[in-house]
Amino acid sequence: MKLQTHAAAASTFIADEPRTDWHDETLWFVRSKRDKAAHGIAEWEALREWASKIKEHTLSNLDNYLIEFEEKAKANGVTVHWAANGAEHNQIVFDIIRKNNIQKIVKSKSMLTEECGLNEYLHVKGIETVDTDLGERIVQFRNEMPSHIVLPAIHLKKEDVSETFHRHLGTEKGNNDPQYLTEAARQHLRSKFIEAGLAITGVNFAIAETGGFVVCTNEGNADMGAHAAPIHIACMGFEKIIPKAEHLAVFLRLLARSATGQPITTYSSHFSKPGAGQQMHIVIVDNGRSKQLGRTDFRNSLKCIRCAACFNTCPVYRRSGGHSYHTAVSGPIGSILNPNLDMKANADLPFASTLCGSCSNVCPVKIDIHQQLWKWRQVIVSEGYVSAGKKIGMKGMAFVLSKPALYRFSGKAVRSFMSLFPFLFRTKKLNPWYRQRQMPEAPKQSFTDWYKQNKKA
């Protein structure tokens, strides 16, 4: 399937302006809640610095910490699996399912399984996986991807949810009462939890010194699944590791405040060993992370703790919606992670930004997101993933701007933007500027001309 570029998809999204305004305001509200929560902590900036340093240290010693984690987890009675890529991850999960002859699976939110396409893979094998996070269940019914990593159905209004539940759960048509709809989802999911033979969860933090891991949810659905089902599989990208349990004191304080403005998620569930008669598996996944770790300019993108603060603050994300990024992890962080996974398919993403820098400022682990967007642009152009037209235009511009006399000549000839920046013609078809904006009025004299006439000795 040929995917639309971000610009094209965003333009479609914006065509419904009231809905765009609603989307923008909803996410800005979350950003404002984050500000308020951060202001409530005197040492906020110090916490960010510590979190950043802990993650940097961990990324530099990842091999040791991963081995330590594996040893400790095994000693706790957990089975540890290693997956080089998404396909291996999916195969490992499938093998566990088949070996135990499982029919029904529940899954709490895991962006890693989205990244690996697990649901689709299992569907093809005839196994149905039920997403138990409310937002994820909604988008799963609709056969959509999450549009946000923390708020998967944030692109939908309650009317959309009502319609979806009417179709899939038989709720009353046109009943948009959130309480009614949530209750319907609750009853529906309750039966899925009871029937499930296996529960899949993500991992927020994996602790090297204990071999345990922490899963953060607001709905308690990870716990419901993992405690009820005889088998628990936790899937994690290898960057989820932190050295010590005490480091949770830094990360748990930052995560929920950055994500939604809550002091802490409703559930911070600590898992360490399987219950009596239960199995616990951890799948540790690379899927391009080693490659990213080897890219000097981009390695620290692996510090990400998936809070989505950069989504909520991004003026472009708020006005284009997560689906316009055509990837599992969208938003600013997705735009610096995804070119590593597939540079050609995601060549548009680093350009879906004004480089305003707000993302880097809200990031709780201080990833220099906007700087990396700039650097990815350079890589993408040097690798040739750019249109011929743009390349010719840029070469022409660079030539003119390196020759002062030619620059002045072009300037004088056309008062000169037209020749310097060919997109600035007054036709809406050829000139995107002119579609919704007037051109600047060309003055008779440039500043240089004025200076020559009035000032030059």
Binding site: T20, P315, S358, M394, V400, S416, Q436, R437, Q445
Partner: protein, 245 residues
Amino acid sequence: MKVGLFIPCYIDQFYPQVGIATLQLLEKAGCEVSFPMNQTCCGQPMANSGFAALSKGCDQNFVDNFSGFEYIVAPSGSCVLHIKEHLHGADEEKVNYIRSHIYELTEFLVDVLQLENLEANFPHKVGLHISCHGQRGLHLSSMSELMEPAFSKPEKLLGMVKGLELTKPKRPDECCGFGGTFCVFEEAVSVKMGKDRIAEHAANDVAFITAADTSCLMHLEGILKRNNSTTKTIHIAEILNSSIA
């Protein structure tokens, strides 16, 4: 104090009045200002589009024009930030000197000249647009995302202008959506962002929107004019240089 005046290409060609105001303002403040005649551009349009590799000629031209000045000043946070972060050249000493001695106009007036008063008069209601590169890149003012004490160099200067009533939009430092070539390659988002900024200033009933970057203002002006708005855009240098008529 010998100052080399850098007037970014699009200001030179389209907004000469901004260059004139900057020059006059610096001279009033006692600077000896020169405008090197062979300057063109900082190279940002290429670099932000991923073509930094093509800006060598432009960079060299910048170094040739601006070496030897005590300070370099420009009425654009964005172009200054680009020079600070991305200027390259064969002569590293010259490049490093330029990188560390180039100033955006308002930071130069506040930090270097330590201006405490101005002979300026602008009896209008003015909305301040905070340009991202000046703010988050050069730290001209505190940022809403960070937990830091509030300050603003542009606001400090506007506070010295007689008659000026300053207002701020509801979201104090959201991007206007210009973003260099973003404004054409992501036209829909760019314009929507600009419209939303304008709506917040319009809610304050301002006569003018000002900023320390002409690029943001050019974008906002284009939208205002298309919609036949009576609100005008004006660079901060023009306000600070305005005198009693």
